[in-house]
């Protein structure tokens, strides 16, 4: 009985020490910052779900959260670019191929211009350039969607990029 009690006590102490510091979990203070920050964006749920599931959020200030969102934007744009490349290898109708080529060019702008400008502007402290760059990513995605006269094979991807773009631009602001 005493042994059981001892084990129980030791276990409780160990849990008290270790539970709050579990790796990867977002802490209460950070959750507040994330929620406050995301409230100022047009897509609260998208914003919160992205930031809460990213372990880098736990140590980030607002600029850090912005950088995380820009990184997610980069990942989505990269994913879409790769998907476009895959599609272009297939047997496609002329207008679809033209639309995809146009999109490849637009997403190239996002990856080669918008993302690097946004990162540099955030790191060096001139947020308006980051805001404009993040915003522009959404414009390029929207332009890609309009490149298809008929059905667009990229609707989901383009929407996703536009959503993250509007959230990133709002966080920077």
């Amino acid at each position: 009985m005493k042994l059981l009690l001892l084990i129980f006590l030791v276990q409780s102490v160990l849990q008290t020490i270790y539970l709050p510091a579990s790796q990867g979990a977002v802490q209460p203070m950070d959750v507040r910052l994330i929620e406050q920050t995301c409230k100022q964006t047009p897509l609260y749920d998208v914003c919160v779900s992205i930031l809460k599931s990213d372990s880098r959020s736990s140590k980030a200030d607002v600029t850090g959260l912005a950088l995380i969102m820009v990184d997610v934007l980069k990942a989505k744009a990269t994913g879409t670019t790769n998907y476009i490349k895959t599609l272009l290898r297939g047997n496609l109708k002329g207008d679809v191929r033209r639309g995809l080529s146009s999109c490849a060019d637009l997403y190239n702008t996002v990856l080669e211009a918008d993302i690097p400008v946004a990162i540099e502007a955030l790191q060096k402290g001139d947020p308006k350039f980051a805001e404009q760059a993040a915003n522009d990513a959404g414009i390029e995605a929207r332009s890609c969607e309009s490149s298809f006269s008929g059905h667009s094979p990229l609707t989901e991807s383009n929407k996703s990029v536009q959503d993250v773009s509007s959230v990133a631009a709002a966080i920077v602001r």
Binding site: T63, A113, Q123, G125
Partner: protein, 575 residues
């Protein structure tokens, strides 16, 4: 006084002999892969606005006149059409219209600017030597303030500059509590009668924008003042502050260090949050070293602006040759980044404007420098006539893409004006809701510029007159909503209330049209609106110009329009 001056001279001699040639032979540039040869057809490049042959530009920097030659420096990316790798590009001019380009004057070469040479200003020292204070980005990505002086004062072009080995002269520290990513854009300094220089630098604390004040006796050692020159809550970061005196009751400008009863002071800031600038008019108190806006001045984003359209990072300087204060500003693109990369360039400088205090004392007035009129070529004049409600008249005989148009409207039936709803306090929103195609009572009337033949595309700059509370209210709009069939462009409308009484004076409009830019001046410069537009049809020789009246009531007008010649931006230097 003599001792301070001697000390300053000593420091200069010391600097010039002790400075190591820090202009490294290899420039530290990031590799920004946005290179592709730009399109051949360039329908949007301007003909008489300042812009380099290609690439990205932003803020005008350190403008000045030295030995009769005007200098313009500007933020420039030598490697691409987006912001990055920023250096101070440099051009000179005898007339602010035609320019001679030079090699970049300031580029990363010291620890204190290795990650960027951002904006700054020139101060002309009492004996005529110009010095530059500018923001550098250091290895830790902190914003710091640096000093550069001309390497060779007998080079009239001042092509080379050397940096103080003591840089940075002002930096964020744990002691001064300055936010290292919110500390930039030093102004021209002003000299008090006590022999002390003062300069302000844009900053913020939480959401309060502020102008941090530093003082120095020798321009090398700067001491931060306990209090800012001025601040305003909830305005966010103050970029590109500008602080200068204006004469009461005169269109002439004065030196930046002038103070006293004959002048008021102006503080202008550019707001990072909203991308608008605003200014207030007030009093500089030398004793307390602070600035207090006059009663009634609005100290926020809702305040007075130099320009109610696309216009940012502006800066004035005193032109001692002609005793005028000149305003320069950066006009960025309203097109998508993809379009900018395709055309290979981004950003233009506004036409220089003179700036002075209105007779009311409550606002500033601007007007394009007279020198721009030497580019006026063939003139078309439409003498006083009636423009019926619901009609338009084409102005032929001038190059519609490259023109200077002045039109003046007279209204007789003022009682027919619509009543202004008291809730309509935001002119930009009002112009968005009531574009040129929305009929009115008195107005909309004005100009249709960069219009395609079938009017599928046009940019409308116009007025509407309303009956307000015991006076008439004139709304000026620049409507870009139908400016282009390309929907990747930002086609936001802009608006401003124009302080003109249509019962006592004509309502005038001047528009400088230059391919993809329309700079409009209402009421002889009481309200200015600049817009960027990218028509797909109304380009080159396919653009048209009309004067229109989409109101129900007639108006009278007279109009003069000139084709504008091209400015030379590539003049050879004489050395």
């Amino acid at each position: 006084m003599a001792i301070s001056s001697a000390w300053l001279v000593f420091c200069f001699l010391l600097l010039r002999h002790a400075v190591v040639e820090l202009e490294a032979s290899h420039h530290v540039y990031r590799n920004l892969q946005v290179s592709s040869s730009p399109s051949e057809h360039q329908p949007y490049r301007t003909s008489y606005h300042f812009q380099p042959p290609q690439n990205w530009i932003n803020d005008p920097n350190g403008p000045m006149i030295y030995r009769g030659l005007y200098h313009l420096f500007y933020q420039y990316n030598p490697k691409g059409a987006v912001w990055g790798n920023i250096v101070w590009a440099h051009s000179t001019s005898t007339d602010l219209v035609n320019w001679t380009p030079h090699e970049p004057a300031i580029y990363p070469s010291q620890q204190s600017d290795i990650n960027g040479c951002w904006s700054g200003s020139t101060t002309i020292l009492p004996w005529g030597t110009p010095v530059i204070l500018y923001t550098g980005i250091d290895p830790q990505d902190q914003q710091v303030q640096n000093l550069a002086i001309p390497k060779n004062l007998s080079d009239p072009y001042l092509r080379e500059w050397v940096k103080s080995p003591k840089n940075p002269l002002m930096a964020p520290t744990s002691a001064n509590q300055i936010n290292a990513s919110s500390f930039r854009d030093p102004t021209s300094a002003w000299l008090g009668p006590d022999g002390t220089w003062r300069v302000i630098i844009g900053s913020k604390r939480h959401t309060r924008g502020l102008a941090i004040l530093y003082r120095s006796k020798d321009f090398i050692r700067w001491v931060k003042s306990q209090h800012p020159l001025h601040s305003a809550k909830d305005t966010g970061m103050w970029e590109c502050p500008d602080f200068f005196p204006v004469l009461v009751n005169s269109e002439l400008g004065v030196d930046t260090s002038i103070m006293g009863p004959d002048v008021k002071h102006v503080l202008k800031v550019s707001l990072d949050n909203t991308k608008h600038e605003y200014y207030t008019i007030g009093t500089y108190n030398l004793g307390k070293d602070n600035y207090v806006p006059d009663k009634g001045q609005v100290d926020s984003d809702s305040g007075l602006r130099y320009d109610y359209g696309k216009y940012y990072a502006s800066k004035t300087f005193f032109d001692s040759a002609k005793n005028r204060r000149i305003l320069l500003g950066w006009i960025n693109e309203s097109s998508s980044v993809n379009d900018d990369i395709k055309k290979g360039w981004s950003g233009v400088q506004a036409i220089p404007r003179i700036l002075w205090l209105d007779t009311s004392g409550k606002q500033l007035v601007q007007w394009p420098i007279r020198e721009i009129e030497k580019l006026r070529g063939h003139e078309v004049h439409l003498p006083k006539q009636v423009l019926e409600g619901g009609s338009a008249l084409e102005v032929s005989g001038v190059t519609a893409v490259q023109a200077d148009v002045e039109v003046s409207f007279g209204i007789s039936e003022l009682e027919k004006a619509e009543v202004l709803n008291p809730s309509w306090t935001n002119p930009q929103e009002l112009c968005s809701k009531k574009g040129a195609s929305v009929k009115g009572g008195l107005g909309p009337f004005g100009l249709l510029v960069l219009a395609s033949k079938g009017l599928q595309e046009y940019t409308a700059v116009f007025f509407r007159i309303f009956k307000g509370h015991n006076k008439y209210v004139v709304l000026m709009c620049s409507d870009q909503s139908r400016s282009s069939l390309n929907n990747n462009n930002d086609k936001t409308n802009y608006g401003a209330f124009l302080d003109v009484d249509p019962s006592r004076e004509k309502v005038s409009l001047r528009s400088l049209i230059d391919h993809s830019i329309v700079e409009s001046f209402g009421g002889k410069g009481k309200a200015c609106i600049t817009a960027r537009v990218y028509p797909t049809l109304a380009i080159d020789d396919k653009a048209h110009l009309h004067v229109f009246n989409n109101g129900t009531e007639n108006v009278q007008f007279t109009l003069s329009a000139w084709s504008m010649k091209k400015a030379r931006l590539d003049l050879e230097s004489k050395l």
